[in-house]
C-alpha cells in the first residue's frame, strides 16, 4: 500500500513517538502531582500534542522557539532531553536549569528552545529578536512564538505582530486556542472570532487549522515556515485544540459544561486521531504504535526514577548563575 501522507513511515513513527512521549510525560505528572511529589504550578499540555509536534517537525536546532507556561510539549518536540526536564520539574540538579527554573522555565538554548515563560505573551518579542538574529545570519532559520488564546490579547504579543511584519522577520506566531484562559472562555475575552482577521490587522497572513489533526497542522505550518525561510515574512497560525486537564493541576474545572471533558477525550484526542489515520491507511500497524506506547512508558518511568534519585541543589548553588563571572 502506498503512503498517502507527506511524511515517510519512519518520520510518522517519530512523530507518533513524540506525541506519545508528551502525553505520557503529562499523564505521569498529573498522577505524581496529585500524590504531592511535585512542587509549584504545573500546566499540562495533554490533548494538545499534535500542534507542537506537527509544527516542530519542520524545524532544525538552528530554528528557535519561545514557549508559554504550558511548555512541556514544546520542549519535548523541540528535542529537549526528557530526563533533564523531569529533573527540573522535581527541582533537582541535572535539570535543564539545575532546579532553579522549574516547570515554567524549562529552556535549552542549544536545542533552540528559548524557554517556557511564566509571563503571558513575553515570548513574542523574544522571538522577534531570534528571527532578527536569523535574518542577520542569513541561513534561512526561523523562530516561532507560541501563545495561548488568552495571551493573544497581551500588548506584548500584539506589538510583536506589528514589529515582525514591519521588519519582515522570519517569525511565526502560533496561537494555541484551547478555548480557555484559566477559567475564562476565549469567546468572551477575545473580541474577534477568527485569528485570520487579527493577523490581517497586522498585515500578515493568518491560517486556522484543527490543532487536534496532526496532518492539518503539519501542512499549514510547513507552508508558512517555508515562506518565512524564503524571506516571505511572518504569518500567524491558529490551532484550535483542547486541554485534557485543568488550567493547572488542582483546578476543579467547574466552569466546563457538563459532558465537555468526556467529549474532548472521546472525540478530540489527537493521538487517537493520528492512530486511526495511519492505521486506516495501512501505513503503520496498531501493533507498531503499541510497541512505541510501551517504550515511551518505560522512558517516562526511567525519567521519573532518575529525577527522584538526582541530588538536590545546595546552599552553594543559591547565589551562582545570576551574573556571568569574569
Amino acid at each position: 500500500m502506498t503512503n498517502p501522507f507527506p511524511l515517510s513511515k519512519d518520520d510518522l513513527l517519530k512523530c507518533y513517538r513524540t506525541m506519545r512521549t508528551i502525553r505520557e510525560f503529562e499523564e505521569r505528572l498529573h498522577v505524581d502531582f496529585s500524590r504531592g511529589d511535585i512542587p509549584g504550578f504545573v500546566h499540562l499540555y495533554a490533548g494538545e500534542e499534535a500542534a507542537a509536534t506537527g509544527i516542530m517537525k519542520h524545524l532544525n536546532s538552528g530554528d528557535r522557539i519561545a514557549s508559554t507556561h504550558r511548555g512541556h510539549g514544546h520542549c519535548i518536540s523541540k528535542g529537549v532531553d526528557v530526563v533533564a526536564m523531569m529533573k527540573e520539574i522535581y527541582g533537582k540538579k541535572g535539570g535543564t536549569g539545575n532546579g532553579k527554573g522549574g516547570s515554567m522555565h524549562i529552556a535549552d538554548l542549544s536545542m533552540g528552545m528559548m524557554g517556557a515563560n511564566g509571563i503571558l505573551g513575553a515570548g513574542a518579542p523574544l522571538v522577534c529578536g531570534a528571527a532578527l538574529a536569523a535574518k542577520f545570519r542569513n541561513k534561512g532559520e526561523v523562530a516561532i512564538s507560541f501563545v495561548g488564546d488568552g495571551a493573544s490579547n497581551q500588548g506584548t504579543f500584539l506589538e510583536s505582530l506589528n514589529l515582525a511584519a514591519v521588519w519582515n522577520l522570519p517569525a511565526l506566531f502560533v496561537v494555541e486556542n484551547n478555548g480557555y484562559a484559566e477559567s475564562t472562555a476565549r469567546d468572551y475575552a477575545t473580541a474577534v472570532d477568527s485569528y485570520v482577521d487579527r493577523a490581517a490587522g497586522f498585515g500578515m497572513p493568518g491560517i486556522t487549522v484543527d490543532g487536534t489533526d496532526f496532518f492539518a497542522v503539519y501542512e499549514a505550518a510547513g507552508e508558512i515556515i517555508q515562506r518565512a525561510r524564503e524571506g516571505g515574512g511572518p504569518s500567524l497560525l491558529e490551532c484550535k485544540m483542547v486541554r485534557f486537564y485543568g488550567h493547572f493541576e488542582g483546578d476543579a474545572q467547574t466552569y466546563r459544561a457538563t459532558g465537555e471533558l468526556d467529549d474532548i477525550r472521546a472525540n478530540h484526542d489527537c493521538l487517537k486521531k493520528f492512530g486511526v489515520q495511519v492505521t486506516a491507511a495501512g501505513v503503520i500497524s496498531a501493533a507498531e504504535l503499541q510497541a512505541i506506547d510501551q517504550q515511551v512508558l518505560a522512558v517516562i518511568e526511567d525519567a521519573v526514577q532518575q529525577a527522584k534519585a538526582a541530588p538536590l541543589p545546595t546552599l552553594a548553588d543559591l547565589t551562582t548563575d545570576v551574573y556571568i563571572s569574569y
Binding site: G102, Q154, E182, Y188, E260, L312
Partner: protein, 338 residues
C-alpha cells in the same frame, strides 16, 4: 471579637462590605469571577486562589473578568477612578507589574501633581506578593520597593487578618492610588477579626512585640519570621521590639525612630531583593535621623541578590529565616559591645 478568620477571608469580607456600602466600588481582574463565557458554573473560581469567591453572586456585573491585558484593565481601573468610581483591580501576581507599570507610576501616581491638585484617583490595585509557593522567579517576587520608590503611590502590605481587613477598607476609601500587597504564603493564617466594618489608617506602623534590646523593623511574612526569632531570643534574655510597618508608603517613621531611640539597635528585615529595598530605606533614615541613638551597626536581613529559585530546597534557603534574623540581632548586640 472571638471570631477567627483567615487573611483570605479578610480580603473577601473587606471587599464585600465596601461593595455593599458604596456602589462606586467595582472589581476587575483575571478570573476574579471565573468561568465567564464558559458553559459551566458561573463564579467558578473567584480568583486564582478563590479570594473573591462568592462576591459575584452578590454584586453581579460589578465584578468583571478581564482579558489577559493588564495594561488595559489596570489602566481602565485608573481611568474609571478619575471619573468617579472606586475600582479595585486585581493584578494576580505582583510579578506581572512589568506589563502594566506605566499606567501605575506614570499615570495614576502622577495625575494629582501634574494636574495641579485637581485630580483624585481612588484606585486600589491588589496583588499577591512573596515567595514560598515554589512558584519560581516570575511568580514569587516582593517588588514592594519599586512601588514605594514612586511618589504618588501608597503601598500597603499587611501581616494579619485584622490588619488586612482594616487596611483594605481604608485603602478603598482612600483617594490616592494604593498598591495593596497580599502575601500568598499568609492567606491561610487565621486571627481575630471583628465582623463589623472598621478602618486602620495607612500611616500607622504597629508594634507587635515590645522589648528593650533591639528593634526589628519589617512587614508582611517577615513579621512572622521575626516573631519566631524573638521567641528564640527571649530564651537567651534578649527582648526585641518588632515594628510591623503595615504601610510602606506613607511610612510611619516616627514609630521606627521611637523604637530605635528606646533600644539603640536596629535590624531591618525585608523579603524584597537587597538593593534599594525597604530595609535600606529604613536603615538609611535611621542612620540619618536617629544616629545618636544607635549603639551599634544596623543589620539588614534580606534574601541574596538573585532571582527567586524554584527548587524548594533553594527557595527555603532564599527566604530570610527566623534563624538569620536572630543571628542579626545577636550580631548588632555584640557589635555594640565590641
Amino acid at each position: 471579637m472571638a471570631r477567627k478568620i483567615s487573611i483570605k477571608q479578610a480580603v473577601n469580607e473587606a471587599l464585600d462590605q465596601e461593595m455593599a456600602r458604596d456602589p462606586a466600588v467595582i472589581c476587575m481582574g483575571e478570573d476574579i469571577v471565573g468561568g465567564t463565557g464558559a458553559g459551566g458554573e458561573a463564579d467558578a473560581w473567584g480568583g486564582v486562589l478563590g479570594v473573591t469567591k462568592g462576591l459575584y453572586a452578590k454584586y453581579g456585573d460589578r465584578l468583571m473578568d478581564t482579558p489577559l491585558s493588564e495594561s488595559a484593565y489596570i489602566g481602565a481601573a485608573i481611568g474609571a477612578a478619575a471619573c468617579g468610581m472606586r475600582p479595585v483591580a486585581e493584578l494576580m501576581f505582583i510579578d506581572f507589574m512589568g506589563v502594566c507599570f506605566d499606567q501605575i507610576y506614570n499615570q495614576a501616581a502622577k495625575f494629582r501633581y501634574m494636574f495641579g491638585g485637581k485630580a483624585e484617583t481612588p484606585v486600589v490595585i491588589r496583588a499577591m506578593v512573596g515567595a514560598g509557593f515554589r512558584a519560581a522567579a516570575q511568580h514569587s517576587q516582593m517588588l514592594t520597593p519599586l512601588f514605594t520608590h514612586i511618589p504618588g503611590l501608597k503601598v500597603v502590605c499587611p501581616s494579619t487578618p485584622y490588619d488586612t481587613k482594616g487596611l483594605l477598607i481604608q485603602s478603598i476609601r482612600d483617594n490616592d492610588p494604593v498598591i495593596f500587597c497580599e502575601h500568598k504564603a499568609l492567606y491561610g493564617i487565621e486571627g481575630e477579626v471583628p465582623e463589623a466594618s472598621y478602618t486602620i489608617p495607612l500611616s500607622e506602623a504597629n508594634i507587635v512585640r515590645e522589648g528593650k534590646h533591639c528593634s526589628i523593623v519589617t512587614y508582611g511574612l517577615m513579621v512572622h519570621r521575626s516573631l519566631e526569632a524573638a521567641a528564640t531570643l527571649a530564651k537567651e534574655g534578649i527582648e526585641v521590639d518588632i515594628v510591623d510597618l503595615r504601610s510602606l508608603s506613607p511610612l510611619d517613621l516616627d514609630t521606627v525612630l521611637d523604637s530605635v531611640t528606646k533600644t539603640g539597635r536596629l535590624v531591618c528585615v525585608d523579603e524584597a531583593s537587597p538593593r534599594c529595598n525597604i530595609a535600606t530605606d529604613i536603615s538609611a533614615q535611621v542612620a540619618m535621623q536617629a544616629f545618636s541613638a544607635l549603639k551599634a551597626q544596623i543589620e539588614m536581613v534580606t534574601p541574596p541578590h538573585t532571582p527567586v529559585p524554584f527548587s524548594p530546597t533553594l527557595e527555603d534557603l532564599y527566604i530570610p529565616s527566623a534563624a538569620q534574623i536572630a543571628a542579626a540581632v545577636r550580631k548588632t548586640i555584640k557589635g555594640g559591645q565590641a
